[in-house]
């Protein structure tokens, strides 16, 4: 068991190296670089530009640049952001909390709503509940996140009930103190982006829950449990549901990755200063060290999430756990 876990963790290393290598390659294939926008600036001389590029290793081929980056990264130094002029790691940590709060809220909403609805729809198959859930799922899956986000923004603006951007009101800028009013203000700002983010994953989880449960409700051991005289609640709750959650554990593992990698679209629409927005800004300005750091981190989190999903699956299913 422990060797297996160790092997799994070891396998992540080549993947991370591959992803970082690929990111460097792709970044080098895009036209221009971070300093291109300064070329037309009369105050910056050609010599100065050359100097700046040399300092950021942008005058060397991409694989040499990768070598420099790797050398530092192995010592835990991800370098300075060209745009923000502060260490990349500091920048990420600053944004991490915002992203985490948003993603966790969305995750909780999505799972807490989707699981009961999916179970309800399966148990009352073909009833109006089931049809209603199917309608919600249909809307959730077919409306693009970006459209839903813009609609939410329009709603916030038209009704005036919700703020349209940021994590908190401007009056808290530079304020260090925390009180109840500030927490409420933050929650108020969080509501719409979290709901929109939750809506997109809710539909999928709900349908998955429903179809898994319908499958297990047809299983022989469910009939056998009924034949022992168990009540329908016990049959569904103990025997069917326990087997129906296994595929959902995998989905849950994947969604953990989103907790710390950010949501590009929603963070941009709601001007949410999270990692998703940071990554997008870094990409457009070609701030390569920041891009590589965020991409590698997202990859790592996806793998860790996957790994956690496998652990959960082993914990849940003895056939997997006890396999030789």
């Amino acid at each position: 068991m422990w060797t297996y876990l160790f092997q799994r963790l070891l396998h992540m290393i080549p993947i991370l190296i591959g992803v970082s290598l690929l990111t460097f390659l792709l970044m080098s294939l895009t036209p221009g670089d971070y300093y291109s926008k300064l070329e037309n600036n009369p105050q910056i001389t050609k010599e100065k530009l050359t100097q700046l590029r040399a300092k950021a290793h942008l005058d060397r081929p991409w694989y040499v640049r990768y070598g420099y980056w790797m050398k530092d990264a192995l010592r835990g130094d991800l370098g300075y952001s060209l745009e923000y002029k502060i260490p990349v790691s500091e920048l990420i940590v600053m944004r991490l909390w915002n992203t985490f709060v948003l993603a966790l809220a969305a995750l909780l909403i999505a799972w807490l709503v989707a699981l009961p609805l999916g179970i309800w729809a399966a148990v009352r198959k073909d009833s109006w509940v089931d049809r209603g859930c199917a309608m919600i799922a249909f809307l959730g899956l077919s409306i693009p996140e970006i459209l839903l986000g813009l609609m939410a923004l329009l709603f916030a603006y038209a009704s005036g009930w919700f703020p349209v951007s940021g994590v908190e009101s401007n009056r808290y800028i530079g304020v260090e103190d925390w009180d109840a009013a500030r927490v409420l203000n933050r929650l108020h700002h969080l509501t719409l982006p979290a709901l929109v983010l939750a809506a997109s994953s809710l539909a999928g989880i709900m349908r998955q829950m429903r179809s898994n449960l319908l499958d297990t409700l047809r299983a022989d051991y469910v009939t056998a449990a009924r034949a022992r005289g168990l009540s329908e609640g016990w049959v569904v709750g103990k025997h069917a549901l326990r087997n129906a959650i296994n595929p959902l554990l995998t989905i849950f593992g994947y969604s953990l990755a989103g907790l710390l990698s950010g949501a590009f679209i929603i963070e941009n629409i709601f001007s949410w200063p999270g990692l998703g927005r940071l990554t997008l800004e870094a990409l457009t300005s070609q701030d390569y060290r920041l891009v590589v750091a965020t991409v590698v981190m997202a990859t790592g989190l996806l793998m860790v999430g996957n790994f956690i999903a496998d652990l959960l699956l082993a914990w849940s299913d003895p056939r997997i756990r006890l396999r030789e």
Binding site: A219, D220, Y221, T223, A224, A225, R226, A227, R228, G229, L230, S231, H239, R242, N243, S316, D317, P318, R319, L322
Partner: protein
Amino acid sequence: MPPLLEIQDLKLEFGTGSEALRALDGVSLVLEEGQTLCLVGESGCGKSVTALSIAQLLPTPPARYVGGRILVNGHNVLEMDKGSLRRIRGGTVGYIFQEPGASLNPVYRVGEQLIEPLRLHRPAAATEKEMVELLKLVGIPEPELRLRDYPHQLSGGMQQRVMIAMALAAQPKLLIADEPTTALDVTIQAQILELLRDLKHRLGMSILLITHNLGIVGDIADRVAVMYAGQVVEEAPADQLLRRPMHPYTRALMRSVPELGREMGRLEAIAGTVPAVGAFPSGCRFHPRCPVVQPDCSQKAPALIEAEPACHVRCPHWK
């Protein structure tokens, strides 16, 4: 005193309206206390549906009972409320199924599942000691250890013994075994049948054994009912039926049973296939495959007649 189980003219359909398919068409059976009744027939003849109906284990819809009664100790299970039904399930009537591996929940230990019928039907006996006794009763070695095993750690034969132990936990009067040996290999089949016969004598319960194998009937059955296309076509004491089958279908079934120690050529198969539910032929449902078919067989649907005392057959040409 009413018989333990009496099924009267049971009619069951799947689906509704013009698409309804009649899976059971007037099935009647009687099983007295302490007796073993074998329900024999090919796949799709309705024998499993009949067995599952006794404790209302078919999901309704799509199944729909359109006529008849199922009396357990004189009470009609088709009209029972949920509470009474749950006392029947596992309490008066215990079930074992075809695939023991699929009938045990893979994520729970044997003990966690075996305790369930005890808690429900005999709360005072819901102890580890009683579970060990039950596993001993069905011949499982080292029962204390097996209680902590997951189903997939047991062999098929052991899994079926666990299912039997679970069915026996509430000391049912009737054990319904739906093809309990089909998924097991031949030596294990014999062991399980031997176990059932032994348990029946020791515990004095009745057994309804569903099988498609006439070969095992002689070992265990008191009476036999042969089903074809949703109807009982012959019903008689086991020795009599095996010695002198009356219905052409029963005769054909018996010719298709291989016998040990008897030199023979190719096994005989019954020509044609079992008609699908909803596509039953007119008149006698067996007439397209019948070797002794008469001109009037496709016209008139034969009734179940008492050919000899306690012997019923659904064929006017049985002599």
